[in-house]
């Protein structure tokens, strides 16, 4: 049984998103006999080293064959198992888009797909391995739940929660090793229900994934300038928590979205769709990757040139409200 205590939370953060993934699926293997794991030659990269030793018969490594991995997972799912399949987010979404579409979206088979190193997590390898479009692609497909956890604790909670539903689910893992901790202690996580991390009255930053921690930092910086921010963790992008968005709009002067994803079709799009549908017509500041491929480089370098740091966030928000 997983314990959400301070020591574990610190350890998970040190291990990073892949390590948290490995921890979560170990827990699943111990508690849910139907859970199986598939990977495409990323057994160690995805944090499955302990899993492989403990449960070799529950792990299928299909080699570098992502399309086959999704199809095999679909076959297992149809026969009653709960397959968790993982590969780089870019290969989950773009490369296997048709397999995802037919097997998960159209047939509705309960595959749980884990997108590793979403955003710039593998940015040092260059644009082939970054994933700035996966939310957009997944969100456009019917029936798929899209989750983007804010820290390693939430990654574990999201994976355990996904195993409890019969919905096809995509979980994108953003953030580096030594991932900033958003949740210092246990909290309630429910798919589709946004979490208000802190309350302010001027600006509401609706953030997802790694950007939740950056938004917390930006809020602190802005406080020094007398601007009070709410930070809302929109960990589930689909189905989106419309009530949380409308409430944020009601109670703040400015809405901001923050995502480690292209500004087209991701969280910004999802939030804008809700507002538009409700007849709310006012600008929303979009902080995200501004529709370009960054040069290969370290994670912090790429956040920097994409203006996704807390410092950039602060500047953009200040210029939007002044």
């Amino acid at each position: 049984m997983i314990e959400y205590n301070k020591r574990n939370i610190r350890t998970w953060s040190l291990l990073g998103p892949s390590g948290a993934h490995g921890t979560a699926v170990m827990e699943l293997a111990e508690t849910n006999p139907d859970v199986l794991i598939l990977t495409a030659d990323l057994c160690f990269f995805s944090g499955l080293e302990r899993f492989k030793t403990a449960y070799p018969d529950k792990l299928y490594n299909v080699g570098i064959a992502e399309q086959n991995m999704i199809g095999v997972a679909a076959g297992l799912a149809k026969e009653g198992f709960i397959p968790f399949a993982n590969t780089y987010a870019s290969f989950c979404a773009s490369r296997c888009a048709d397999q995802v579409r037919v097997n998960m979206a159209y047939m509705g088979l309960p595959i749980k797909l884990i997108g590793l190193t979403a955003g710039y997590g593998a940015g040092v390898l260059g644009a082939t391995h970054v994933s700035i479009e996966d939310i957009s692609l997944m969100r456009a497909l019917p029936n798929i739940t899209v989750i983007s956890p804010a820290d390693c604790t939430e990654i574990i909670k999201a994976i355990l929660a996904a195993a409890e539903t019969s919905d096809p689910t995509y979980i994108r893992l953003t953030g580096p090793m030594n991932m900033p901790i958003v949740y210092k202690e246990d909290y309630n996580f429910a798919i589709g229900k946004a979490v208000t991390i802190q309350k302010g009255y001027d600006v509401a930053i609706i953030a997802t994934g790694s950007m939740v921690a950056q938004a917390q930092k930006a809020a602190k910086l802005l406080e020094a300038d007398g601007v009070k921010c709410s930070v809302i963790n929109m960990h589930t992008i689909k189905p989106i928590d419309s009530d949380a968005i409308l409430e944020a709009n009601e109670n703040h002067k400015l809405l901001v979205t923050a995502e480690e994803h292209n500004v087209i079709g991701g969280l910004y799009g999802a939030v804008a769709e809700v507002l538009c549908k409700e007849g709310v017509h006012k600008p929303v500041l979009s902080i995200g990757i501004n529709d370009f491929f960054a040069h290969a480089g370290s994670y912090s370098y790429q956040l920097d040139i994409s203006e996704l740091t807390a410092e950039s966030m602060k500047k953009k928000i200040l210029s939007a409200i002044n």
Partner: protein, 276 residues
């Protein structure tokens, strides 16, 4: 039943399926349907559904059933009447084929029609599904059931077929049977001209499969191939004629997907009747 009676039974089933295919296409009016690749696969499906398949019509989810995956989903028009032969669906339902609101679409889909394991139509995906199903059956200790995956020869251009083929032998899936409908023609013409996959049988063998090459219209050879079991997955390479059974459709790529005029329909029916 003597062996001759048995073969006659399957051949009669094939004749009924073929006649349904012509009627179903004609009923679609100007829409048309995938005639060529449906007519080529008739005996293969008849051989399976009229007898070889493990299936309980009153319990479509029976664990001990064989799983049939029509990866070449455009041959759904042959699958539905074959399922009638097995008592899985009613003959009357065939008249709804491709009509608005029908469960019998141009490609199989998961819409409550019994006996359809997966939606198909996006080529190159069915064999991966078969691998997953066979792994699952082994996990469950189900040693009786097999998965039969029907591929087109043109479909084998898709790289994902070969990803799946490699994994099937890697995992030692003795419960997996592939049937390739080798009618030799794809949408744009002869497979040898569009994309020549020769040496085709050797490819399967090199991927670790046992292969059986047969005349895909010869019931005796089909039954013999289906009865084979071994340690390795089996690929039955069934040499067939696209449009088989109607003279003007045979080996004619124009009838890959086509509508039928009244004259064409009458001629086709006439030829099938004369064959009785």
């Amino acid at each position: 039943m003597t062996e001759i009676e048995l073969i006659t039974k399957y051949e009669d089933a094939a004749k009924r399926i073929r006649r349904h295919i012509i009627d179903m296409t004609y009923n679609t009016g100007k829409t048309g349907a995938h005639l060529g690749g449906s007519l080529s696969i008739v005996e293969l499906l008849a051989g399976l559904y009229a007898g070889e398949i493990r299936y309980h019509a009153d319990d479509p989810n029976w664990e001990g059933r064989d799983r049939v995956i029509l990866s070449k989903g455009h041959a759904a028009m042959a699958l539905y009447p074959a399922m009638v032969e097995a008592g899985i669906i009613n003959e009357a339902e065939l008249s709804t084929f491709k009509q608005d609101g029908s469960k019998l679409g141009g490609h199989p889909s998961l819409n409550g029609l019994p006996g359809i394991e997966f939606a198909s139509g996006s080529l190159g995906q069915g064999l991966s599904l078969g691998v997953g199903v066979c792994l699952a059956m082994k996990r469950k200790g189900n040693q009786d059931s097999r998965a039969f995956v029907f591929l087109g020869d043109g479909e084998c251009d898709e790289g994902s077929v070969w990803e799946a083929a490699a994994s099937a032998s890697h995992y030692g899936l003795s419960n997996l049977v592939v049937v390739v409908d080798m009618n030799g023609i794809q949408y744009d013409g002869y497979t040898t001209e569009v994309m020549d996959m020769a040496p085709f049988e050797k490819k399967w063998q090199d991927f670790g499969w046992n292969t059986i090459s047969i005349d895909g219209h010869n019931i005796e050879q089909i039954l013999e191939a289906f009865s084979q079991r071994g340690e390795k997955p089996i690929a039955i390479l069934a040499h067939t004629v696209k449009g088989k059974g109607v003279s003007f459709m045979e080996n004619n790529w124009r009838f890959h997907n086509a509508a039928l005029s009244k004259e064409q329909y009458e001629q086709a029916v006439g030829e099938l009747e004369a064959d009785k």
